[in-house]
């Protein structure tokens, strides 16, 4: 395909050149400066660079970026999943990941392409190395945002938020030493990115760097200090096992919006504890965040325990999305606002409540499945009396119409049917049909599928209509 060798990129650039040059005179006639035209060109080219269509062009122009991705030795095991999950919001897709498989501890180094726009989602299993040399191994998908110096990192609500309870037991990790000024952010130590997940405990961090912590981690730090003082180890937070490392993290650590609210609550309650503790040495960020997440997870579990027994569809929907559920239950904590307060929930109310609980977690397709399942299960399970049961059965019969239920073939929504990212825009020379066999003779087309762009001067195709 042309994209692999770069001719598509060259074609696109030549088209851009043609358009810009042909518009130059017109722009001048309008009294506009050349700067405007150059702006247009820069905007256009930058958007094209960011898109996957120009990936081959980018490959040739990979410069040193702020991030160097290092793949672990066992990366090949999950490369398929990771490739699918590498979704960079600027619609980039780093295809270079799965092609390199290292069998030893040698690290495969990739530089993120130039022109990468933040935020960036990094899949699990990669090790990030910032420009300043710090290493972070990512266990779960990470969202990397760009934080200006002195500002709080923008929290990115993402469904692939940290699953801290899956992280290993708190082990040695960077411990911030600069904890006396929670709001202090050192511009020099803030690279152009902030990781919205605590690094894996096994990361190696170079010493001698001061940490710059946002306000939130200070609070759980205070809390853990309190725990340390009382020597009441929770099973998840094993502070004593930490290797107190004064090596702080130079990267801003921030949490997503949902833990933040939790931390704010902690902050209020632990303000006094803060004043009591003189210093927070050897603080394990993983421990702190893990603790917070545990609290919220317990909340979520309490909410779940209040719900009645799930229907099959619900359980399927939940199980099917187990992965996302684990990641997103933390980010969606704020949405579980009905369960905590309403402990006395009737069964009938529990069903819609459950739906509300999971709305934030389950995607639209699952919601449909839930509704369909609820519709049928409500009719079967809630009705107990024979009269109502008979009425429900009759309603089901009328709704489903078993006599003709098999005749309906259209199961897809028409609007969704035509909604796809894989599009071919072209001209047809000849479209031929014989019974149910179609033949296409197309020309001068631009194709976009699999996230990449292709062009053709002629395309011949066959298809059978079902």
């Amino acid at each position: 395909m042309l994209t692999n060798t770069g001719p598509v990129a060259k074609l696109y650039l030549s088209i851009i050149d043609d358009v810009i040059e042909s518009m130059r005179e017109l722009f001048l006639d309008e009294g506009l400066e050349d700067r405007v035209l150059d702006d247009l060109r820069h905007l256009w080219e930058s958007k094209m660079m960011q898109s996957k269509a120009m990936e081959d062009f980018r490959k040739n122009n990979i410069n040193s970026s702020n991030f160097v991705l290092q793949l672990p030795a066992n990366y090949s095991q999950t490369d398929q999943e990771v490739t699918a999950s590498v979704v960079i919001p600027a619609s980039q897709n780093i295809h270079s990941f799965p092609r390199l498989k290292s069998n030893s501890e040698t690290l495969a180094t990739f530089s993120l392409p130039a022109g990468l726009a933040y935020p960036v989602q990094i899949p699990a299993g990669v090790t990030l190395q910032t420009a300043s040399g710090q290493l972070y191994k990512v266990n779960v998908p990470v969202v990397v945002t760009q934080a200006a110096a002195g500002q709080q990192p923008v929290s990115q609500p993402t469904r692939k938020v940290t699953e801290w309870r899956e992280a290993a037991a708190p082990q040695s990790a960077a411990a911030p030493s600069n904890t006396t000024h929670p709001q202090e952010v050192e511009p020099s130590s803030v690279p152009a990115s902030s990781v919205t997940q605590p690094p894996h405990p096994k990361t190696n961090l170079p010493p001698g760097q001061e940490s710059s912590l946002p306000q939130q981690p200070q609070v759980p730090a205070a809390e853990t200090s309190q725990l340390q003082g009382t020597h009441s180890p929770e099973p998840e937070v094993i502070l004593e096992e930490d290797e107190p490392s004064p090596q702080p993290e130079p990267v801003n650590l921030s949490m997503t919006a949902s833990p933040r609210s939790q931390l704010l609550d902690f902050q209020i309650s632990t303000e006094e504890a803060l004043t009591q503790t003189a210093q927070l040495k050897a603080r394990d960020i993983d421990d702190i965040l893990k603790e917070v997440i545990e609290e919220e997870r317990e909340k979520a579990e309490r909410a779940r325990s209040l719900a009645p027994a799930k229907t099959d569809n619900q359980s399927e929907a939940v199980v099917g999305l187990d992965l996302d559920y684990n990641y997103s239950e933390l980010s969606d904590i704020v949405q579980l606002d009905g369960a905590a307060g309403n402990s006395d929930i009737e069964e009938e109310d529990g069903v819609p409540l459950e739906e509300n609980d999971f709305l934030g977690i389950i995607n639209a397709e699952a919601i449909k499945a839930l509704q369909e399942g609820d519709g049928s299960s409500d009719g079967n399970s809630i009705s107990t009396s024979s009269d109502s049961e008979g009425a429900d059965e009759l309603a089901n019969v009328v709704e489903e119409d078993p006599l003709n239920s098999g005749d309906d073939v259209i199961e897809q929504d028409i609007p969704d049917l035509f909604d796809t990212d894989n599009v071919i825009v072209c001209q047809y020379d000849k479209i031929h049909r014989s019974k149910n066999r179609w033949k296409f003779h197309l020309k001068d087309g631009v194709m976009c599928y699999g996230g990449r762009d292709y062009v053709f001067s002629k395309a011949v195709g066959e298809a059978e209509c079902m």
Binding site: M1, L11, L26, F27, L442, G445, V446, K458, A459, A463
Partner: protein, 106 residues
């Protein structure tokens, strides 16, 4: 006039977005943006006709077809695109094709 068909491509969409940004910052007028798009139509039609020389084969199953205003729209499933160098499979693709014989303004 050239087909405006190619405005819904990566290239065309990024141009439209860029123009929208300039319009919002009032650096250009909408009329001028329209002129740019018309020029883009000409440029891409010419480029595709003259500067591209390759052939692609594909095979799949036809989900839907539509012919309206001399425009064919197909939705194919489980399609394999085959070129000399490689093979790409997609589960769903939409084809929008204008008449290649006549140069009608669309």
């Amino acid at each position: 006039m050239a087909y405006q068909l190619y405005r819904n491509t990566t290239l065309g969409n990024s141009l439209q977005e860029s123009l929208d940004e300039l319009i919002q910052t009032q650096q250009i007028t909408p009329q001028l943006a329209l002129q740019v798009l018309l020029q883009f139509d000409k440029a891409i039609n010419t480029a595709l006709a003259n500067r591209v020389r390759n052939r692609v084969n594909f095979r799949g199953s036809l989900n839907t077809y539509r012919f309206c205003d001399n425009v064919w729209t197909f939705v194919l499933n489980d399609v394999e695109f085959r070129e000399v160098t490689e093979l790409v499979k997609v589960d769903k693709v939409k084809i929008v094709a204008c008449d290649g014989k006549s140069r009608n303004y669309k």
